[in-house]
């Protein structure tokens, strides 16, 4: 399992979890799995960070949980997005995109900015 993995930028874990739940209910293990696969194995969410984040999301009312059976018939706790969570995800996604674009622009710059007074 020694892959090049990126440390998660603070605050992005919540969005990633919410996003993972966008397509339906998942248990905790499936959430890590989904994030790992969708990031081409770049983002591994460890148990020690995943569950606290999930529980906090639940306390905030953005996700809700229920007990169910997993693919191989084990009792598992499934999480799903609430409508408040869905709204929050949309907002956060927008913020993230704007942020990423801005960072991208700065990092992708090829020449220094035009001096202020000449504009």
């Amino acid at each position: 399992m020694d892959k090049t993995q990126l440390d998660l930028v603070r605050g992005t874990l919540d969005v990633l979890i919410l996003k993972a739940l966008m397509w339906g209910r998942l248990h905790g293990y499936a959430i890590t799995d989904l994030i790992l696969r969708q990031s081409d194995d770049a983002l591994l969410v460890e148990e020690g960070t995943l569950y606290p984040a999930l529980w906090r999301l639940e306390n905030k009312g953005w996700v809700e949980s229920e007990w169910g059976l997993s693919e191989n018939n084990r009792k598992a706790k499934f999480y799903r997005l609430t409508s408040a969570g869905r709204r929050h995800l949309r907002e956060e996604t927008k913020t993230w995109e704007a942020y990423a674009a801005a960072v991208g622009k700065v990092l992708g710059a090829t020449r220094p900015p035009v001096p202020e007074e000449s504009r």
């Binding site: 293990y29 606290p52 529980w55 639940e58 306390n59 007990w67 191989n72 084990r74 598992a76």
Partner: protein
Amino acid sequence: MKRIPFWRRYARLLRPDVRADVNDELRFHLAAKVDQLVAEGMRPEVARREAERQFGDVRTLQELGERLGEERERTQQRKDYWDSFAQDLRYALRTLGRDRAFTLITVLILALGIAANTSVFSVVNTVLLRPLPFPDSEQLTWLESGKEFNTGLRESIGLSGVTYTVDAYEEFQRHNQSFQQVTSYNPFFGNGEFTLTGRGEPQAVLGLMIAGNFFQTLGVQPMLGRLFTSEEIKKGGRPAAVLSYAFWQRQFAGDPNIVGQAILLNKTPFTVVGVMPSSFDFGSVFSPGLRMDLYVPAYMDDLRHWGNTLALVGRLKPGVSVAQAQAEADILFPQFKAAHKDWYEAYASTITGLKEFVTGRLRRSLIVLWCAVGVILLIVGVNLSNLLLARAAGRSKEFAMRMALGAGRGRLIRQLLTESLVLSIAGALMGLGLAYAITTYLAHQGSIALPLLASVRVDGAALGWTVLIAVSTAILFGFAPGLKISSGNIQDSLKDTGAGMSSGRKHERMRAVLVISEVALACVLLVGAGLLLRSFLKVLDVDLGFQPSRAAVIKVDYDAGENGKRTGPVLREMLRNIDAIPGVESAGVADMLPLGRNRSWGFQGKGIQYPKEVARVALVRIVTPGYVDAMGMRLLEGRDFSWQDTLEKESVVIINQTAARRFFPGQDPVGRLGQVGGRDTRVIGILSDVRQHSLELGATPEMYLSAAQAPPEGAELVVRTKLPPEALASTIMHTLRSLNPAQPAAEFRPLGQIVDHAVSPRRFFVMLVACFAALGLILASLGIYGVISYSVTRQTQEIGIRMALGATAYQVQRGVIARALRLALAGVALGIIGAFGVAKWIASMLFGTRPTDPVTFAGIVLLLCAVALLAGYLPARRASRIDPMIALRTS
């Protein structure tokens, strides 16, 4: 509201605790991981170890999970609670909205009950519970002399018996160790009557003569300007006055520039040095019903020679109790008396808290009033219980259905409590509005001689009280029906087709019990009110010794000249002019009227030896010829004064019966010599006794002196007319003005007004208690009506059958009315027992009425029976009109 997902309840069932949840969740994660590793080709035991390694510190994670889980659980519980409360609330509003008539009656009844309670609480709170409106008011005390006299004697001497001389005041001030300050004022308010001139029409104003440290002792500051300087409080200093707020507003339109200006009082310029704040109202604390206009320094050097002239108020040192101060006074005053052989009395003093002095006499009455409204609230609660029960009976199917669908008992009771809470909150809001109106009205009743009444309002404490009683009423009247319903058998209720079946019986018994207790409570209230009302009528019926009807009184001002020498001729001229007005029957002047101010002077028969316990004092009235006729007093023997009884002639006095009996035992006083303040005076007549202090208090010795021979203290012109007095008001005023341009614009008051004022506290209580009793009666009769009416509805079928079998309408009616009477009689029987207890308790408030007054008790029993008859008659008539055919078909 958000829909509660169905699985929540299911999950709750399977989830015994948070810890297990966290464990399960983490265990599943581990298992899933092991599965994956095995799938990737690892051996199971290696895979397990690897998974555990990756997992890291499970313990910490578990703890965190538990904490977060518990937090979630708590918020969820709160949310569920409020969700179901909101649900109950919406449900309650919907059902109440459907049942408009019921809701309206309930809220109205509640509003009346709560308004009565909040208003009375506001009064009780202001008068009894709240401290007096002075800083550290618990330190303030009232000193009253005359401890050496017995109560009856002290009362008969009046104000003179409880006041002090300047010497006694100063001695006590100098030697006591208990008080920070002792102050005084002159409670013989007539000494402070002035005529204000030079500012529009002449005005009669009332000033209070106060010691220099009066305001400082009470701890009140002027709103404008300053208090008196040490020069101003001495005789010969510049005359100064401090205005009361009300007078400043009324007379000077609140002009702040008045401070520093001079005003003419009795033609002497007084400099206005300050204005007191509106929060300081002398009358409302020290002399209820009195409107004090301004304050002037009492020149002690003048008062020193006037005898007992000062009322004392002290401020205790911190930590000194009233009892300690009393013990000190008990030692000091006898020492003073020993040191001053010339003192007329020892001034043995009784010290009480000022609050006790102001409101002590009212405590019993107010507590009675408080209890009365408490009873009203109980009746309201019982009545509503009853109404709700009747309603619940009609809803038993609804509740049975809900129970069958899984609603718990607690849930149903909660639902019912929510309903009653909604009702009582609505009632409380309406009641508060009413109470606000009532207290505002009361606060503006200046004519009711109750202390502190002007500051009565619905304040925070009253609001709290309202909330308390509203909630407790809601629980009281919501709980009984709730228990009743939820304990019912579901199957019975579902099967019960409503009218005529036996399951309603138990319901009805409970309602009967409620109605009986309601009638009993109302009975207690009515008997209490009846006794008080009868006492009130007895008080109004006492022989006043004068005739208030068709007589009116006006304060007059005249120029008495040097040393009052002109008093006789001036008054004679004035009365000659008044008598000449057509319609005037008789007229006379007195310095003080009955039931108002008073003072006493020494009096005894010349050369008669009295036993030691006979106090040789009598009330003094200084009057002109004609006064006895104008007042409608009865001269039993001898003659009235004449204008020939002048300064140059022999001093003459008229005494009343009581004085004649006391000072001339076994003799005919007329023609004998008495001694007024040591001066020989011929007794020329005997008058019948006059109620001088109050209507309740018996006669005391009185003497009447001629205004031409003794100095009157103020002048009240009493006019007896053939026409209604108001018709003559302007003519009389015109006449007075033409004689004396400085005659102040004073009110021409009917003589009955002084009687009204004297009985106003009693009237106030009687009116309130009577109102509450009437309310109780109405509620009780509503209760009887409700129960009987409901049982008639329920028994429609049964009645129909009986009528079909030949029962006459009369028999049916009789049956129903008998039931109503039985309820009422059971209630009355219980109520009478309670009423005896209550009557004994209020015995001290009664006058001329025994607590077991048979007329009142019989009257109330009859009244309640009559009301029960009426309440039973309406449903009875309906019952007798039941058409058997229709009744039998409808079920």
